[in-house]
Amino acid sequence: MASEEESAVKEPLDLIRLSLDERIYVKLRSDRELRGKLHAYDQHLNMILGDVEEVVTSIEIDDETYEEIVRTTKRNVPFLFVRGDGVILVSPPLRTA
């Protein structure tokens, strides 16, 4: 039974607690983004995500035209521990109205 105290959102980490077992979006340093189901986290924002899709964005310079080419690399990982010091932002799942 969720008490009133448990469901109240008073600080940022409370919002993350409400996202447990939900798919979240995580933006990381080094132009990395993750989407996955949140299974565990702590106060450092270390996390364990499940069914993860990672997107890495890199910019390459075309040899001839010197144009910037934005490239994204995707991969899937079943379970991933993410160290919190690389986390820039966490976004809870979109709630449909």
Partner: protein, 93 residues
């Protein structure tokens, strides 16, 4: 403490540690400490052609601060257990 405890339970399993220098090292988890420093045994670098630097290293210590990800074995993840431990930790337990 949550992840320190979790990784202690994972000792003996195969994991892949991805570092912030883009190196990925696969090996058997030997031990972990409260900084989440990790010791791996029977290690091999995932892209050995590109990274031959550790060809003669079989056991290694990885400083927790340079870890970006650890790929976990699915059989080493009990989702319900993690949820409970996380809620307990969030309450300041």
């Amino acid at each position: 403490m949550l992840f320190f405890s979790y990784f202690k339970e994972l000792v003996g399993r195969e994991v892949t540690v991805e570092l912030k220098n883009d190196l990925a090292i696969r090996g058997t988890l030997h031990s972990v400490d409260q900084y989440l420093n990790i010791k791996l045994e029977n290690t091999r670098v995932v892209d050995q052609e590109k990274y031959p630097h550790m060809l003669s290293v079989r056991n290694c210590f990885i400083r927790g601060s340079v870890v970006r990800y650890v790929q976990l074995p699915p059989e080493g993840v009990d989702v319900e257990l993690l949820h409970d431990a996380t809620r307990r930790e969030a309450r300041g337990g």
